[in-house]
């Protein structure tokens, strides 16, 4: 049995049916030394207050559900050891999102942005099945693999100062996931996506604070994707001025 330490958890509560504004509840939790922040929240839910609402699922930093602000910083709670925090831990919902209840935030806006950047392979003409699969070398896979590791945890949106100021900004995760397909050797839709990246809420709104890459639990480095998308968008824009078919592939 590992050592137990009592920690105080100050947790944001919000019930849209009762509360005008969010409030906080404080819980004292006997934390084991090997616990993550999520373990303490589960203890509160199981033992102290069953009405506490928050998202979680896999407990292994894969599903991206349990993102919250812990002591003010966007954090994947299943991956954050409690030993890194003091005696009092403040847990609030992710910034820059509407709150549905307690620590649960509304993700519809992000889902619309994600869909808008067309995060799927676009082909001018699909190959017939009998022509076989699209082959890809390990080097071609490496070109985009890093950006495909995003787990949609939304920490980057909570950390991004531009998302906070400009709600229309496409945002780090959606740009990384869209740009990932621009780098895919099987894809032919880069121009379509670049036009979206240059449009309303464009990649050029990014002021390169780099907070998205700082908080990313999977080291996706969305700031790199945004900067590459800026350059790609510029080249495509210039090509559209001089080439008859624009910058289309």
């Amino acid at each position: 049995m590992s050592d137990v330490q009592i920690k105080k958890f100050v947790v944001t509560r919000f019930d849209p049916d009762k509360d005008e504004v969010p409030r906080t509840d404080t819980f004292e939790v006997p934390c084991q030394s090997d616990w993550m922040v999520l373990d303490a929240l589960n203890f509160i839910k199981d033992q102290l207050d069953g009405s506490l609402s928050y998202r979680w699922s896999c407990r292994m930093a894969v599903c991206g559900s349990c993102g919250m602000n812990v002591d003010g910083a966007p954090t994947l709670t299943c991956k954050s050891p409690l030993s890194s925090y003091g005696d009092t831990v403040e847990v609030t919902p992710l910034s820059n999102f509407p709150v549905i209840r307690d620590l649960v935030v509304e993700l519809d806006g992000f889902m619309e942005k994600l869909k808008a950047v067309k995060p799927w392979i676009i082909r001018a003409k699909e190959k017939a099945v009998e022509e076989g699969p699209y082959r890809q070398s390990p080097e071609e896979l490496e070109d985009f693999k890093q950006f495909s590791l995003c787990i949609n945890c939304m920490l980057c949106y909570a950390a991004c100062p531009v998302v906070g100021n400009e709600p229309d900004f496409i945002g780090p995760a959606a740009i990384a996931l869209g740009y990932r397909y621009n780098l895919d050797s099987r894809d032919e839709g880069a121009s379509e996506r670049n036009a979206i990246f240059r449009g309303e809420g464009s990649v050029y709104s990014c002021s390169f604070a780099n907070e998205c890459s700082e908080v990313c639990p999977e080291n996706v480095d969305p700031a790199a994707a945004i900067n590459q998308a800026k350059l790609s968008g510029l080249v495509d824009w210039a090509a559209s001025l001089v080439l008859p078919r624009g910058g289309k592939d």
Binding site: P161, N165, Y204, L234
Partner: protein
């Protein structure tokens, strides 16, 4: 106006990015030469003599470099000030503020072109 800014955003970003490069690399070197090297006698005092500088700046490559040194930081400054205005809550007036700042950068760029041609 907002739509025009969105359309021109790629090229504005390009000028801004090049302005950052000029500002951080070339102007830093310039300050080291002018502010440290010459006063401390590391470089001869006549290294920056008018005749030498005029000769350096009046050939085609020198004029292009000078134009870059004048124009690109103007765009960097305009874009930075626009971002600053948005950060300080001026998002609603972004189209007006951005247009005004870029207009100043355009006027400065035109004056820079005239200056290097007349050099």
């Amino acid at each position: 106006m907002k739509q025009l800014l969105i359309v021109l955003e790629p090229v504005i970003w390009f000028m801004f990015g090049q302005g950052i490069m000029i500002g951080t690399i070339l102007l830093t070197g310039w300050l080291i030469v002018v502010g440290v090297g010459v006063p401390m006698g590391i470089f001869p005092a006549d290294a920056l003599a008018y005749e030498r500088m005029h000769m350096l700046g009046s050939n085609v490559i020198g004029r292009v470099v000078l134009l870059g040194l004048i124009v690109l930081p103007l765009w960097k400054g305009a874009h930075h000030l626009r971002s600053l205005a948005v950060d300080f809550g001026g998002g609603d007036r972004d189209a007006i503020v951005g247009s005004l700042l870029y207009l100043i950068a355009i006027v400065g760029s035109l004056l820079g072109i005239v200056a290097v041609i007349r050099l």
